[in-house]
C-alpha cells in the first residue's frame, strides 16, 4: 500500500507519521511536499500530519485547506481512499469541509502536551477496525486548539451515523461531547487531535497507535484481494 504524507510549510509531525506508517507499520510511505500534487496520483492513502501549517495564520489549518493539493485529497476521499488527519491535519480537514465542525482554543487557554486515555467509540471504519469497541487506549496529545465544536444538529448527526470514533475519558480541552476524533459517514476519512503516530513503539511509552495504521493497511489488502 502506497501512502503519501503531506508536508505543508510548518508541518512538524511529518517524519513521525512517515516513520509510523512506513518503517513500523510497513506501508510504502513517501513524504510529499504540498506543491507536488501530481505525486498523489498513485497514492492509496493520504496522511495529513500535525504541526503549525502556515504558522496557524488566520485560523489553524485554514491556509492549508485552500491549497491546490486539498482538491486532490478531496477527490481521493470521494473515491473512498483512506484520508487520515492528525492534530493540525484534523484542523485542516474541518477547515476544508471534509469533516464537520471546528477546532477552537483549549478551554483553559493552555497548550497541552501529555498522555490521554481515549475510548474507541467506533470500529466500523478504515482506521479502527483492529480495535475493540469501547476499548481504552493511551495516546499523547499536543495541542493548543483541540477544543472540538459543532452545533447541536451536527452533533446529533455525528451520533446517529456513528461518526464519533474517539472520545476522551477525561476531557482535557473542553471538546463538545468529549470528542477526540471523528470520521465521515463513509468511514474512510478520520480526523483526530491525539497522536497515534507517537504511540507506535514500546520505547515511546505506548504501542496503542500502531493499529490505526495496521487497520488502514489491512483494509487496503482485503479490498485489493477482492479486485485481484
Amino acid at each position: 500500500m502506497k501512502v503519501a504524507v503531506i508536508v505543508f510549510p510548518g508541518s512538524n509531525c511529518d517524519r513521525d507519521m512517515y516513520h509510523a506508517a512506513g518503517e513500523i507499520a510497513g506501508a510504502e510511505a513517501s513524504l510529499v511536499w504540498y506543491t507536488d500534487t501530481h505525486l498523489l496520483d498513485d497514492a492509496d492513502g493520504i496522511l495529513i500530519p500535525g504541526g503549525f501549517s502556515y504558522g496557524d495564520y488566520l485560523r489553524s489549518g485554514s491556509m492549508a485547506s485552500t491549497s491546490d493539493i486539498m482538491n486532490k485529497i478531496r477527490e481521493h476521499a470521494e473515491k473512498g481512499k483512506p484520508v487520515l488527519g492528525i492534530c493540525n491535519g484534523f484542523q485542516i480537514l474541518t477547515e476544508a469541509g471534509l469533516l464537520p465542525g471546528a477546532l477552537m482554543r483549549n478551554k483553559n487557554l493552555s497548550f497541552m502536551c501529555h498522555q490521554e486515555e481515549l475510548i474507541v467509540e467506533d470500529n466500523e471504519n478504515v482506521f479502527t477496525a483492529l480495535y475493540d469497541k469501547n476499548e481504552v487506549v493511551r495516546f499523547p496529545i499536543a495541542h493548543g486548539e483541540g477544543n472540538y465544536f459543532c452545533d447541536e444538529a451536527t452533533l446529533n448527526d455525528l451520533k446517529a451515523n456513528n461518526q464519533i470514533v474517539f472520545t476522551y475519558k477525561n476531557n482535557p480541552n473542553g471538546s463538545v461531547a468529549d470528542i477526540a476524533g471523528i470520521r465521515n459517514k463513509a468511514g474512510n476519512v478520520l480526523g483526530m487531535m491525539p497522536h497515534p503516530e507517537r504511540a507506535v513503539e514500546a520505547l515511546l511509552g505506548s504501542e496503542d497507535g500502531l493499529r490505526i495504521f495496521q487497520s488502514m493497511i489491512a483494509n487496503w489488502r482485503s479490498s485489493n484481494a477482492v479486485n485481484a
Binding site: S62, T94, G101, M104, N106, N108, L109, F149, C150
Partner: protein, 81 residues
C-alpha cells in the same frame, strides 16, 4: 479602490475562553462593571470597485476570512480612497 473592513466575532453561544480571561483581568483591575468580553478579529482589505463587490466580499468571508461554524462577520464598505 474601496476600503473594506471585516469584523469577525465568535458566534453567540460559542464559549470564548480568551474573553473570559480578559474579563477576569479587568475585574482584578477594579472594573467590576464589565459584564462580558468577546474577542474578535479585524481584517482590512483594499478592493477594486465593481458591481459585485459586496457579494464577493461576503463570499470571501464565507470561504476563508471567517469560519461560519463558529464565527459571525460584519462587513463595512468605506468611501472610495
Amino acid at each position: 479602490m474601496k476600503k473594506v473592513q471585516v469584523y469577525i466575532t465568535l458566534k453567540q453561544g460559542v464559549l470564548d475562553p480568551q474573553g473570559k480571561a480578559i474579563q477576569t483581568s479587568l475585574h482584578s483591575l477594579d472594573y467590576p462593571e464589565v459584564d462580558d468580553v468577546r474577542v474578535g478579529k479585524y481584517i482590512e482589505l483594499q478592493v477594486e470597485e465593481g458591481p459585485d463587490l459586496e457579494r464577493r466580499v461576503t463570499q470571501m468571508c464565507e470561504q476563508l476570512l471567517a469560519n461560519p461554524v463558529i464565527e459571525d462577520y460584519r462587513i463595512e464598505l468605506e468611501e472610495a480612497i
